[in-house]
Symmetry: C2
Subunit: 131 residues, 2 copies
Amino acid sequence: MIKTTRTDTLPDKLATLYAGIESIIGSHKPDIISIEEAFYGKNAKTALLMGHVRGAAMIAGHQAQLEIHEYAARKVKSAVTGNGAADKQQVLYMVKRLLKLKADPVTLDASDALAIAICHGLNHKLSKMGL
Amino acid sequence: MIKTTRTDTLPDKLATLYAGIESIIGSHKPDIISIEEAFYGKNAKTALLMGHVRGAAMIAGHQAQLEIHEYAARKVKSAVTGNGAADKQQVLYMVKRLLKLKADPVTLDASDALAIAICHGLNHKLSKMGL
């Protein structure tokens, strides 16, 4: 998980995020980034902030010449649980099972992130994932 | 002005924007980027999109090790016209006058961008700007 400092300015927080993603890409050398499609809801302030974060993440992926894919939350949940309205606990349960993990993912957000990767794998029949 | 292709995906549009800003930074070698503070209004969809664009722009500035400053639109208008509620035509008029431009800036957006730079100059008493 990438943590930013509360008192930092927005550009500095985004820079921390960018550097964090860059470093993760450097150590894990992925070919693809899968991101949950943004759901903007009704709160414009939250949507604006989320946009900044997603923009920075997409640039990090692009600079590393990765493919970037977006999946709607419904599609992700459906891919791993068969139910587009599944809750996060159910997603975690199936992620653990599908990936044969011995322990739970560290957080529900981590489990969601794994679910998005699984969703991409299933959509592209990536046999390496062994799903 | 940086133009994106309508049919491109959002990550591709952001990449085009990022490359465009990178190229402008490369040719003009600025020390600072000044951006208008985001006004998120009521439209969450627009706010989300604007966030992506601003996030990409901020990363471009950060990667080039530039200082990044944000100014509220009211502050910018007030700095160049003395009226925080001035309209874009009035901003254009004063930008042209303050910078002793012979022709109008190409667009009202370009004039606004120059106004943000002037606002930063005035706030930091940048004597080089000759204001």
